[in-house]
Amino acid sequence: MMRGVVRYLRRNPSLALGTVLLAALALFVVIGGMLVDIEDARPLSAPTLRAPSWEYPFGTDRQGRDLLAVMIAGTPLTLRIGFIAGFLGVGIGTVLAFIAAYYRGLLDTVIRGIADIGLTVPGLLVLIIIAVSLKGTLTVNQMAIVVASLAWLYPTRTIRAQVLSLRERGYVEVARLSGMSGPAIIFFELMPNLLPYLAATLVNAVSAAILASIGLEVLGLGPIDAPTLGMTLYWVNFNAAMINGWWWWWLAPTVIILMVFLGLFFLTVGLDEIANPRLRSAA
């Protein structure tokens, strides 16, 4: 079993690279959580503006946060926003896509129309209007829901296209002729065949949601008292850390965000190859 996995990963280096990057982050968070007191991610728990040293390996910021603790506490928070919004987006998107593509008709026209129009609009700006309209500052979970409000558009569109091509296949026809009901066909015939594709879409949606959440946070619309990666960048920008030469302040969040995006990206590429083996000849 293990040997089979290794052999497959050698053939699919993108999947391997993505998994390694994300696993490294997970290890960092888990081991770091055991060794470092996450309470130090709060302001005033360390001396201010220390460059990296043995005591504070990632340095400290202007409000006296230990940046190592901030990263250990913030990485899972940012990922949580991404996963909640990504799951909601793909979940809603899948349901809408199946309804639209399997039943066609007026519903299909409406759902496709909304998704098509929604995708041409700059998502971040709509999210800004939503975030600004809500009372008070957001919590991490509210943030995820705000981001999810647009996260279903892209999955709906792409999954719908996949279902449209699948439903014409012979085995679906056979199931239909043998009297299987619509929902049964969707669950037992279409869904299993779409699973690898759904997985790739999910990873993509998570990545897009994290990007959107970091965007909102850098603009100052994030959870002000949570130490997420995006909020750290907001403080970096707020305090002009770049011009002042406090390089360690932005280096840690930048590297971790890079790892998150690259990891998710290579994971999507790898999953795409599983979902769509024809790509192999092209690569």
């Binding site: 041409t120 609009v121 700059p122 800004i128 600004v132 990007l211 100052g220 619309l221 920008n237 995006f261």
Partner: protein, 334 residues
Amino acid sequence: MQAAYIARRFGVFLLIVWLAASLNFFLPRLSGQDPVRTKLLQQAALGGYVQGGIDEMTKEYERRFGLDKPLWRQYLSYLDGVAHLDFNYSIANYPRRVSELIADALPWTLALLGTTTLLSFAIGSFLGALLAWPGAPRWMRWLMPPLWALHAIPFFLLGLILTYLLAFQIPLLPIFGGYSAGAFPALSWRFATDVLQHALLPALSIILVATGGWALGMRGMMVTTMGEDYVTFAEAKGLKAPTVFLRYCLRNAILPQVTALALALGQILSGAVLVEVIFGYPGIGTLLFQAIRENDHFVIQGVVFTVIVALGFTTFVLDVIYPWLDPRISYRRA
């Protein structure tokens, strides 16, 4: 047929305009209270950066929106104001109007975004086409991994890294702003080079990332196109390789890229907003950022509306040009 196609596309554009306006109107009201009015009063109570004129503003606000009138009347008068590009006063910069602030910022964003999008689209598409072409130089294969990696990075993050490398460590380029402090905006050679220098880093961070995306998409399309029979036929006919490459492969493979461009504009813009914030570039993004900091609701709404409409219009134009680029489409229903 043509007129019907264009009319239908224009209808979609109008729909977007209406949706954007309605979103701006209804979303703030969904939270039960009117945050605009609350914020106005808050600002008045705090004093702070509101320089006075708050009374006139509140009156103007109540008169304009007719807060005593029923909701549908308010909605109609709001739409009327929007139709005249009237977004009321800026709260933080009273007595400047929102439309003035946007008019000041928009050229900066248009210039930055227009240039970078066109450049990255052109370079990326050509690069991607070459990457799929068997006759391309071997060293080009080494370009793939960095292009892939760059493509996955958000614009502004690359911006941060570039700033550190090219403006802080090696002070080649200015770190912040749209032009040097103290430079007087004028149509002079010195001012132009100053502006260009300031625009270089933000532009570079957008171009590097976006080029990767276009190259990847184009490479995929090229691989498909090169498998077509007419390409084999063209080669068999003995046509020169550059002719086959440019007129048979590239010409056909670039069409889906144009469709992708229409879809990607929204994402590019979202990313560019953050780039502007990181670099303090005086465009729409920075205006929006300041407005969010100062709770300047009218400016936020005005910017969001303007940008959505501008993008909707660009998409409309691309839709209209597309059949002209690809005669196979010929303005028929898809």
